[in-house]
Symmetry: C2
Subunit: 314 residues, 2 copies
């Protein structure tokens, strides 16, 4: 599988710049004091469709040639990628076919259908999702856009840290959450190209630590059944994102559920912004390992703001 | 009582500009669609100490002559004004004496003491608060800074809408919440001076409608025991803020509790920012009276972000 390079990231940024929000980089003195370092928060919770996923989806959708595009795009997802792909396809004026488990929260179904996508419901198992998606692909001829193990998606996700560094200057370290590894891969490629000395740390929930185990053993490890409040990070690495992680990422550090919830609350209370639990994992890693980051400039990507207000973890 | 003029607002802005955040003006297409107009949100939830109150408190503290300042400032409050005054005094390096009911939430006590203020606790009645404050004043010689019925405080609050108009251009209407009327007074003075055709609407909870009744009768009405989720708007107008309202404000419109909670949730979900219930009253008035605002440019001041995450109304 081809690994994206810096030129691919630059192309992606040119391609998507007119479609995505250039989200702000916020700082918070109270959190700097608590963390013992300078934290630069790239606020993808303010991104369209509520998460950085819209960058990758937009790049994948607009990178397609016209003939393929006319047949639409497809994916199975019940989360932010589904909404992001639906909106990106709508922007290009093509169909998005989304396979969702029938058990998905009504608010997510509404978001995806609100962007005009075709939803096909399936049983809530990976097997049913994949089988249903295959049927959709056979019926429509649509192009599958994988949520993370996809060249163009990774290039799109890379643009978030690129904007962070362009706006705020070079950080000493960047910390991003890892689920499937799309954001991690893109971030690592962009950060290392923009500043060779910038360390890239993946932040992962202890209760969904397949990236941690894969990184430490050097062998792609299957995900054990994950059980974490960070519901955006339940997926496991793909082969492409694993390869990129092993080449570019400096370390993977885990945070406990308690640390994640506490970091999420800290951001809500001190910064007055809404982030979803997955977004809080990097700050949880930071505050749980202050000695590693003391006095440094630390970039963090707040990945999304689609928190379920009816089920807050605090 | 002297009514502030435009020159006083300009002086206030010069005085406080180095101390307060120039908060962003945000827009949200999804809310524009729902509201049927263009809404400009001035985000004082991102202000220092979490609310616009810091503008008025800072102006009052820094307008004092040195001899008075050395004796400190004092107020009774369990809310945002207490924290704002404590921080403003700390910035000038003088004492703040805050009288708080012993029943105040721990988080508010912590915020005020965190800014270095002296707290004197009292029984949770207005009588006890006023008596305790008198004792503090007698003991310390401090200057009382009333949360809203105060010339300098009103001038400071006026700077929020001034910044909104400077940044986003002239709105057709500005809607702000009314409790004691400090923000309303300042906003009306500034908005009418910057744009004579700009309408100024006060937004008030139905369940705390003393400003509405005062406006409609032309006579300052006592507050009936208020009972609203908008806990920043429990206070009633003072004589000065009543006078200014009668001179400058175009209308007072009320919103139900249900409308307020729904507007609050809308902002959290769509804008991904944390606002306290009082901040949602203008948007509740807007969405409850769409025909009045159709197609207009509407400025709204999101007054604060100090929501109690343990007691959310939804």
């Amino acid at each position: 599988m081809k690994v994206p390079g810096w030129t691919d990231v630059l192309e992606a940024h040119n391609r998507i710049a007119g479609w995505v929000h250039r989200t702000p980089v916020l700082t918070c003195r109270a959190i700097d004091r608590i963390a013992g370092c300078e934290v630069l928060f790239k606020c993808e919770n303010f991104q369209k469709a509520g998460a950085f996923k819209f960058r990758g989806a937009t790049n994948a959708v607009f990178a397609m040639d016209n003939d393929s595009a006319l047949k639409g795009v497809a994916t199975h997802s019940s989360g932010n990628h589904a909404a992001a792909l639906a909106l990106a396809a709508s922007n290009r004026g093509i169909r998005a076919h989304i396979v969702m488990p029938e058990t998905a929260p009504p608010v997510k179904k509404k978001a995806v259908s609100g962007y005009g996508a075709d939803i096909t419901f399936c049983a809530p198992t990976l097997e049913s999702r994949e089988k249903t998606l295959e049927e959709v692909l056979a019926r429509t001829g649509a192009t599958i856009v994988h949520p993370y193990n996809n060249f163009d998606v990774i290039c799109g996700q890379a643009t978030a840290v690129k904007e962070l560094i362009e706006e705020a200057g070079r950080p000493d370290v960047v910390i991003v959450p890892v689920g499937g590894g799309g954001l991690l891969s893109g971030t690592a490629i962009a950060a290392k190209n923009m500043s060779g000395r910038c360390r890239v740390i993946a932040a992962e929930p202890e209760n969904a630590d397949d990236a941690f185990r894969s990184f430490k053993t050097g062998v792609l490890q299957p995900a054990l059944p994950p059980d974490t409040v960070a519901d955006g990070l339940l997926t496991s690495l793909g082969q492409l994102t694993f390869n990129i992680m092993m080449e570019y990422v400096d370390d993977v550090i885990c945070a406990s559920e308690k640390e994640i919830i506490s970091a999420m609350r800290l951001v809500w209370e001190r910064m007055k912004i809404v982030i979803e639990p997955s977004s809080a994992v990097p700050l949880a890693v930071l505050t749980g390992n202050r000695e590693l980051f003391a006095g440094k400039r630390v970039g963090i990507i707040l990945t999304g703001g689609n928190a379920d207000l009816d089920n807050l973890p605090f």
